[in-house]
């Protein structure tokens, strides 16, 4: 991912990015040649491009939307993840994170927009947007929660940039579908690719962000590198990871968990302590790292910013 470089180094002096990211492949190929065919055979399988190395993201703007609650540790945030593309266990995403190639990465943007529909290189998607730090509560539908210092930019800025037409009523997102690298997709534990969507007013809400990093560093694969969504007033499964497609559509899309188990997972998935999930009471949650459960807040504590969007709506029926 291209993060703004220090301006005093001419970009011509920097190792070309594709060489940098492919350096293991390059070294593998070179040593393979030196060792001859037998060596190459032994190296078989190591020619894969490894996960992009982490980079620091400089010059982060703080945000008035950030909470001052105690942060979960980097270790906690990067080792306890629900990312079923890597497997069902919370440890699977970290265990198999290196299976995923995130370089190069492009995002298809299409639908009811005035800008051209195209595959945009990640750099082009990110280029106009200054990054800021947003410290958000993250509430999983499984009744645990964390506090995470995300790095990203408002989704609204990207939406406006592509100039949606009046027919664009929903923004639909897709996660990468690549079963060669995502072992969970090979097991078909869900109907892939993973789909999520927001109503246009939700997508334009200033709390909704696209995320490229956390703790001031680029995302690791288990956290949804290189680009993920974060909508902090909704259960975690709405904030899909490793986004490859953004569509502006007229009809309300069906999101993956709603397709899988319709009576348990709805479209809205707003955090709501009063509407219980059939498997979990949503009244309380366990903050990772805390012994006692704590009360879950309406809209995960973001009611002031988002409640108006759902005024008059039956939140039990629209779970």
């Amino acid at each position: 991912m291209l993060i703004k470089q220090a301006p005093d180094i001419p970009s011509s002096e920097i190792t070309p990015e594709h060489v940098y990211y492919n350096r293991r492949q390059f070294m593998g190929a070179a040593s393979g040649a030196a060792l001859g065919a037998a060596g190459a055979a032994l190296l078989g399988g190591s020619g894969r491009v490894q996960a992009a190395p982490q980079e620091d993201i400089p010059d982060l703007k703080p945000s008035p939307f950030s909470t001052d609650e105690r942060l979960n540790s980097y270790e906690e945030i990067t080792s306890y993840n629900n990312f079923y593309e890597f497997g069902l266990d919370k440890e699977d995403p970290r265990r198999y994170a290196d299976d995923l190639t995130v370089e190069p990465w492009s995002v298809r943007v299409e639908g009811h927009i005035n800008r051209p529909a195209a595959d945009y290189a990640l750099e082009d998607i990110l280029q106009p947007h200054p990054f800021e730090e947003r410290i958000y509560r993250l509430r999983c539908v499984e009744a645990w929660s964390m506090v995470v210092p995300w790095v990203g930019f408002p989704l609204a800025d990207l939406v406006r940039r592509f100039e949606p037409t009046s027919r664009a009523r929903y923004v639909r997102f897709e996660t990468l579908y690549r079963p060669e690298e995502f072992r969970g997709q090979r097991r078909r534990n869900l109907d892939y690719p993973y789909v999520e969507a927001l109503r246009m007013d939700e997508a334009l809400n200033p709390l909704a962000i696209l995320v490229v990093g956390l703790y001031g560093k680029t995302l690791l694969n288990q956290n949804g590198a290189p680009l993920r969504l974060m909508v902090p007033w909704k259960y975690g499964f709405k904030s899909l990871k490793s986004i490859v497609k953004i569509q502006f559509v007229e009809e309300q899309p069906r999101n993956t968990w709603n397709v899988a188990i319709p009576h348990e997972y709805g479209f809205y998935a707003n955090v709501n302590p009063e509407v219980n999930h059939p498997r979990w009471s949503q009244a309380t949650e366990r903050r990772i790292g805390s012994f006692f459960r704590q009360r879950t807040q309406m809209f995960n504590g973001y009611a002031d910013q988002v409640a108006h969007m759902y005024a008059g709506m039956d939140l039990a029926a629209n779970y």
């Binding site: 069902l88 440890e91 009471s281 366990r286 012994f291 459960r293």
Partner: protein
Amino acid sequence: MRGPAARFPRMATGFVVRRAKPFVFLACLTPALLLGWDAFTGGLGVNPIEDITHRTGNWALRLLLATLAVTPVRRLAGWQAAIRFRRMLGLFAFFYATLHFSTYLVFDHFFDLLLILEDVAERRYVTAGFFGFVLMIPLAVTSTRGWIRRLGRRWTALHRLVYVSAAAAVVHFLWLVKIDLVEPLIYAAILAGLLGVRAARRYAGRTRPVQAEEGGAAQSAR
């Protein structure tokens, strides 16, 4: 004990069982020791309470199924002495089920009885698990020699509850997983096999005259 497969002299069997018991005991205790070790060294992961809950629940179910496997092993493998490990396996199953339930009660909900009652009433996987655990209590209590003597024939009838308890445990697991049913279905298949062996035997027993020595085996199965 004069079944066709009782090839070993009684003394030797007793010797083998006495020698083996401490090892079986230690084997059954190992998951708890590992749990204690991990708790002490910080090896329980980011959500320790979830980890403890899953591990104790898994071992309760496995040992419950192991307990139910004792009788088929005796009959099919002809290893009569297997019966002498059954109580230990059953009590260890109860031990892990108790840890599992206590984790839920103390660590997960910290005696929040309202929340627990709501859980048991409204979430069917909790209902099933709670039911299965409660049924194990009278079985554990009456597992002593004294109770076996006191209850006589009724002891066998009472301890048939273990089938219900095991079924409830499997259903508990089936109902709690979100999408991937493979693991609970493996346990369900094992349980179905263990119950199927018994059903087949019952059916065969009804159509053929019961042999005297099988009757003897059934007696000692208590």
